[in-house]
């Protein structure tokens, strides 16, 4: 079986400071990988390197493309990489306003990716947008409202709909439940689980919330000082951590 994403030896420095160093792993179709670690551990740097937002100093990010099979996205031309970003890849930001166009209606936000890949039938675009609002539990009557009128949880769900409407195969998520109320988090987690299962999505989720990875991620990487110190099955890493830092991390949080 070919991995959907194969990350090999990714390193990123900021001057003399290490962002992340020598990170390698394979992600298979349908898998959800969690990346945990404290602030500054390099998890967001790694995510941004993989998603093409940052250029790593070394390494490869090989994605199994639909048309040409495995390709290193770091050596792809920029148009190809941006096309991936609109089609097979999705990125869910921690702050919904970073991932949404706040001056554009909910329907326009969801429809943008469709129009970006060439859809030119208003009725079809609107129908799909409305369908997706339903799937993320936003009432269809809100389709023409701007996200500025939405609650934080709704904005985050709208961001997810906007990302998933073109049926991506890989979703990068940066603290997708950060800053949301606990009850809203639960709803979002349930939604994401259902979407991952029903669409066969693969996902990489960066978070510092161990409860989130326990419920969403099949596999877990623990990062410290830019390095992966432990990786394995999520429940195994959380219930029987092997590395000193993982043990500290797990024992430091309230029971999850």
């Amino acid at each position: 079986m070919t991995p959907l994403l194969s990350v090999q030896g990714i390193s990123k420095r900021y001057g003399t400071h290490i962002g992340c160093t020598d990170v390698s792993f394979d992600l298979y179709p349908g898998e959800v990988m969690g990346i945990v670690g404290e602030s500054g551990s390099g998890k967001s740097t790694l995510l941004n390197c993989m998603a093409g937002h940052l250029t790593p100093d070394g390494g490869q990010v090989i994605f199994d493309t639909r048309t040409d099979g495995p390709r290193d996205t770091l050596t792809m031309s920029e148009p190809e990489r941006r096309m991936l970003g609109r089609t097979d890849w999705a990125f869910v930001h921690q702050h919904a306003r970073d991932g949404l166009r706040m001056g554009v209606s909910a329907g326009g936000n969801v429809g943008e990716r469709l129009m970006a890949v060439g859809e030119r039938h208003y009725g079809d675009i609107r129908d799909k947008a409305t369908d997706w609002l339903g799937r993320v539990e936003i009432d269809a009557s809100r389709v023409d409202d701007r996200p500025t009128t939405f609650s934080g949880g709704m904005q985050q769900r709208l961001q997810i709909a906007r990302n998933l409407v073109t049926g991506p195969r890989l979703v990068f998520m940066d603290e997708p439940t950060g800053g949301l109320d606990v009850s809203v988090q639960a709803r979002l987690l349930d939604l994401l689980r259902g979407l991952v299962r029903d669409m066969g999505l693969s996902a990489i989720i960066v978070t510092h919330d161990l409860a989130v990875v326990r419920l969403l991620a099949d596999r877990l990487m623990v990062m410290k000082s830019g390095r992966v110190v432990e990786a394995g099955l999520t429940d195994q890493v959380l219930d029987d951590p092997q590395h000193a830092y993982s043990q500290l991390l797990v024992s430091s949080v309230l029971q999850v």
């Binding site: 709803r187 349930d190 596999r219 099955l233 029987d240 092997q242 590395h243 500290l248």
Partner: protein, 227 residues
């Protein structure tokens, strides 16, 4: 179906002076299809630890744990995930679910995960919930709000939704009344009859005597206790 050879485990507590605790030492036994083996021993003997190792929840340092033709000790995470989805079921003592998901979906989820349609999965979930006497008015609610006994029964329904060829049962009859205990025991008997290999922990001696074919005294393999 389940085959343990020379299995050992230690815990290393890096943050407590790097204390090394040997918990399981050199366990070997096998469970055939249709067989049920009980793990016994005093509290703290390592029954749950061994069961968690067999589920891959705890990392095993040495030996082989074969479930079908997969060695859990060596398997890549995705192989373990596939194994748990299709082959190896686990009924723990605690129900761990996303807070607001309805009970019916919680029970149906294992079947959805192996590709069952929503309709079929829910139909099976309804049968199990009915068998285990969870009132229908609770099905649309999240089990996180239920009583301990109700949560336990939801957990069992979920564990028996998919016909796993290998099953691990951690105190499945604890805190159940006589009627529900009877339902659970018959579910176990049905699973054995269809050829499931089962490892269980039962404090309930009568239950153990009824469904288990043999017993393994785990304290024989726990250095701390034996010493």
């Amino acid at each position: 179906m389940i085959d343990l050879r020379n299995v050992s485990k230690t815990f290393t507590l890096h943050n407590q002076g790097s204390a090394v605790i040997e918990v399981i030492n050199d366990v070997s036994f096998a469970v055939a299809p249709g067989e049920c083996v009980s793990l016994t021993g005093a509290s703290g003997a390592g029954k749950s630890t061994l069961m968690r190792m067999i589920y891959g929840n705890y990392l095993t340092q040495a030996g082989e744990i074969r479930i079908g033709d997969v060695d859990l000790v060596q398997a890549a995470p995705r192989e373990v995930i596939a194994l748990r989805r299709e082959v190896l079921g686990y009924v723990s003592q605690f129900l761990r679910v996303v807070p607001r998901v309805p009970t019916l979906d919680v029970v149906a989820e294992p079947l959805r995960a192996v590709g069952g349609t929503e309709q079929d999965a829910q139909a099976r979930a309804k049968v199990l919930l009915t068998q285990l006497n969870i009132p229908q008015r609770l099905w649309s609610l999240s089990p996180t709000t239920f009583s301990g006994g109700e949560q336990q029964r939801v957990n069992i329904a979920r564990g028996f939704a998919h016909p796993y060829p290998a099953m691990l049962l951690d105190e499945p009859t604890a805190s159940l009344d006589a009627a529900n205990r009877e339902v659970v025991l018959s579910l176990i008997e049905d699973a054995k009859a269809r050829g499931a290999a089962i490892i269980g922990i039962f404090h309930d001696e009568a239950a153990r005597a009824r469904v288990c074919d043999s017993e393994i005294d785990v304290s024989r393999f726990t250095p701390g206790v034996a010493a």
